[in-house]
Amino acid sequence: MSEIGKFIDDVKGNRSFMENVTRWEVLPPRKGEYCPLPESLPSVVVKSLENKGIRSLYSHQAACYEAAARGENLCVVTPTASGKTLCYNLPVLKTLLDEPESRALYLFPTKALSQDQQSALNDIVLSDDIPVKICTYDGDTPGSLRMTARKSGRIIISNPDMLHSGILPNHPKWIDFFKSLRYIVLDEVHSYRGVFGSHMTNLLRRLKRIAAFYGSDPQFICCSATIGNPGELAQAIIEKPVTLINHNGAPSGEKHLIFYNPPLVDPVQGIRKGVVNTSQQLAVRLLKSGIKTIVFSRSRVKTELVASYINKRLNNIYNDNQRIKVESYRGGYLPRERRKIEKELRDGTIQGVVSTNALELGIDIGGLDAAVLAGFPGSISSSWQQAGRAGRTSNVSLAIFVASSSPVDQYLVQTPEYFFGANPESGFVDPDNLFILMDHLKCASFEIPFRKGEGFPGDVSSLLGYLEENGVLRFTGDCWYWADRSYPAESISLRSGASENVVIIDTTKGRYNVIGEMDSHSARELIFNEAIYLHRGEQYIVKKLDLEKHICTIEESDVNYYTDSILKSDIKVLEEDGESERWGQILTHCDVLLRNEVSKYKKIKFQTHENIGYGEIFLPEEEMHTRSVFLSLKPGTPAGDAFEMIPELMQAPVLARVSTLIRNTAPLFLLCRGTDIGVSGRVRDPHFECSGVFVYDTYPGGIGLADNFTEKMKEIFQACLGLVSDCSCKEGCPSCVGPVDQQDQFEDNPRFLTRDFLRIWLDTVWKYP
């Protein structure tokens, strides 16, 4: 019997373990569906595949190859371990070998992924016999290699940001590439949702426009994780009909999914054993049984903690830690360090890894047998992806979800049928969002002047006219020319809060070694002065965080605690645009300042996790100036009157539930991601002197979502009411009003009170024409 089989039998017979298991789901093994290698596949590729032991394809890989050969744009749904790279590499290599001039562009949402892909392509798919030059082109590519990449790279691997600010604005340097561009591969297409996805759509409009200028019309191959609407999303992003291939032909072994709620340590107050300690104990148990294990944790600090606890538990000089090596892995390590860990995982030097969601995406780390999820990762599809990291082979595999004490985790672990019944999240884009479209029109005009009557792809003449009035374009000779000295892509970012990274430098005993980096947003919360910084199991104390110079100096330390900062957020109204009324609802559009302040931190003792003291943090507040709409609950309006009917004690909890409902429904109508907007309910807001709800954009300067809320308000509230009334849960779940919150000072979830409030209010609203 395999190690994992033994482990499963073992815990099944263990009563104290089984007491905490709320669900044990066994997914039966699935047979693979195979097709022979296509006859048209060039012989060098066939040979290279055979050298890797590949003599047939999974049915979906073959389907991709055929659809691509028919000239179709396609989107393939690729769960973990389904052989994604062959889905696009085979059709691309065939074309590149048949047509010696042709080129392909591979786009990955992040730099880390694109670098991983280059090594995957170089190491695995290609051998010396296949004369196709592959080049990574991103911010890290040295100047000396850029020219070679442009001139002779047959496959260019890059990311949206580089395409936006580096490649497209300089397209004449890329003439050889664009004029023979045959394929564009979009990997992780599910990550292009909401505002980022809308940017991506416009970026591809620009790309297609430039390709057309040089006479090419590339075909698209998209890969998506399992989401609600992969084909629809891909179609919306590339704006072409898409063939969806979503029948997975890869085999998979038997899979055990275990929901585990840590035992109560204080049944009176309902306090459970911590997720960190529970997860590390489970991981140690798995590792000691000889099972290769990955632990996913929800934050960088927890990743370091879990890894160091595991190593401490295994620590034993007499048997060389039982020959078990466990590493931590997260964003912020130097690329070299990450590559090393990935490689050691693949070749089996490392038996265990503790990671943030950084390893959830398509980085190749080979086969692992068990996954421990220390807390739910925030979305159902992420949960499946993390669980899918275990069981790449056809063997039995195991995933254990360990719930934290958060309301969502507790709901999921106590109601596992919600998890198994839930539809995966869908993705939307709104490429004609005025703000985003306008930004890309500027870039597009810089790239190639707009001819009169030319679309993008819709009619944009009035928008071009607007830019002309503002002096950035000049209309002459039936063309709009870029007429400004600036380089527009430079001041337009595809992501919110993309800021420079802070470099972390170890200065122990006069050293000056860069050991990592961190975005400045996280730096404020994690590496403030006096913070304890954990890096691959080593402990450091922060000497100085200099946000202006983007430098953080640290020194080795060995205290018995780690630090956790306390975040305070606040909304301040800067300027009102005046009140308006729609269907009796008073709305105020305004400019607001979102403030995040870290002013204090807790010192938390290792192992016991008790709070052993506080410290002050002296950092300027982080501010974001953005757009918001305030939905007033002023007495005398339908909403206000309905709100007054709620017992005072319940007003705050109901408002919190209404905010959750809006957050759950609005993205569908505003065509954004949940994280693109913020919703905050206020009882007696000091600025408006009444209760109400702020809905705001989480992008600096705003991106039109809050402004557009008014237009869609009726539909959104209708959906809120429908959701709270019809949700099949008992008393509130993450999909509707949110689960029971221990923080509330009462027993039940005010789901029905929330429903009644909405119904009374909206009954009045429906009467308006």
């Binding site: 063309c479 527009p488 039109g704």
Partner: protein, 387 residues
Amino acid sequence: MEVSMKADLSARLSRLKKVKSIQNIPKQAASASISDEEIKIPPGWTALDRDVWKREIRMPDPLANLNLSTYLAPSDIPREDWLFFDTETTGLSGGAGTTAFLIGLGRSEGTDFIMTQYFLRDYPGEPLMLNFLKEDFKRAGLLISYNGKSYDSPLLRTRFLMNRIPFEFAEQLDLLYPVRKLYRRTLPNCRLGTAETFLLQNPRQGDIPGSEIPDMWFNFLKDNNADSMSQVFEHNRLDIVRMADLLTYLENVLSHPEEQKPFRDLFALGRFLTERDNPLGIELLEQAIRKGDPRAEAYLSVYWKRRGEWDRAVGLWESILRKRSGLYAGTELAKYLEHHRKNLSSALIIVDRLLRELPIRDPRRKAELQHRRNRLLAKIRKQSENS
């Protein structure tokens, strides 16, 4: 776009205006609204068509006093085939949306120098202007510029490509490179204006800063007042003439390197000539050493070492070490003593001195030195064991 979106477009655009930082851009619309008759062509210029103007200026040839050194302009390209060029552009960051709106050219003809300028009066004239330029470029055997290799040439390439005009560039001579090589240490910077002020001793008066030039053209597009452009025309004309002056100056310096000239960097000039196998170079380097230039000593010691002239190299290293503890000289001398002279104890003395006296920050260097010391010690031990 949908109809509903268009309906409230203006309202939403006004919000956009408020929120987004488009406020910084010029307020006036950039539409071409003024009729052709209203545009006064300045004297000296002729219109090739509605949107391209040209002028030619004939002047005495600044290259008349040039003594060819052969180190810059190749001797096999006749002087009449040299073409100086310089562009004024709509932005400084490059990219497909940056256009050259003024192109200046200069060439010798007999005893004259003929300056040609093409001016883009409006965007649609670009293909015509480029076609003229293409013909001028075709006739040239050598293109001479200042920073043209990394700025003007790639930009023009982009313009030709964007307008689908086939083009070719002759061999290029970028004067920025020799200025950098020869004067980096002695001039505050290597901009053309700086070279004019200090080398040519001919500073510009009342010239406009280059950073203002793009906006002057954008303003011209709006008000069509060519008077304001005259400063830009003059700036560009001077760029061309001064490039010719500078080439004359540099060629003369290189033809007679022994002559004392202001801002001469003996070491840089000596190295330049030595790299080109001119024996005068060594002489200048030795002069520099006598004047106490440590760079010259180090450079020449490498030079001799590469040629196997050990006595000369060792002499220089010893001379350096008499003055100060030099890491390079010390290491080289220790290596020489260890490997060529088998004099281990002398080598050890030098290594010890370096370790003692030098504050070496680079841990790798320090480790290397330590390693050398250990190896010497081991060898000495072995030697004494054997004897």
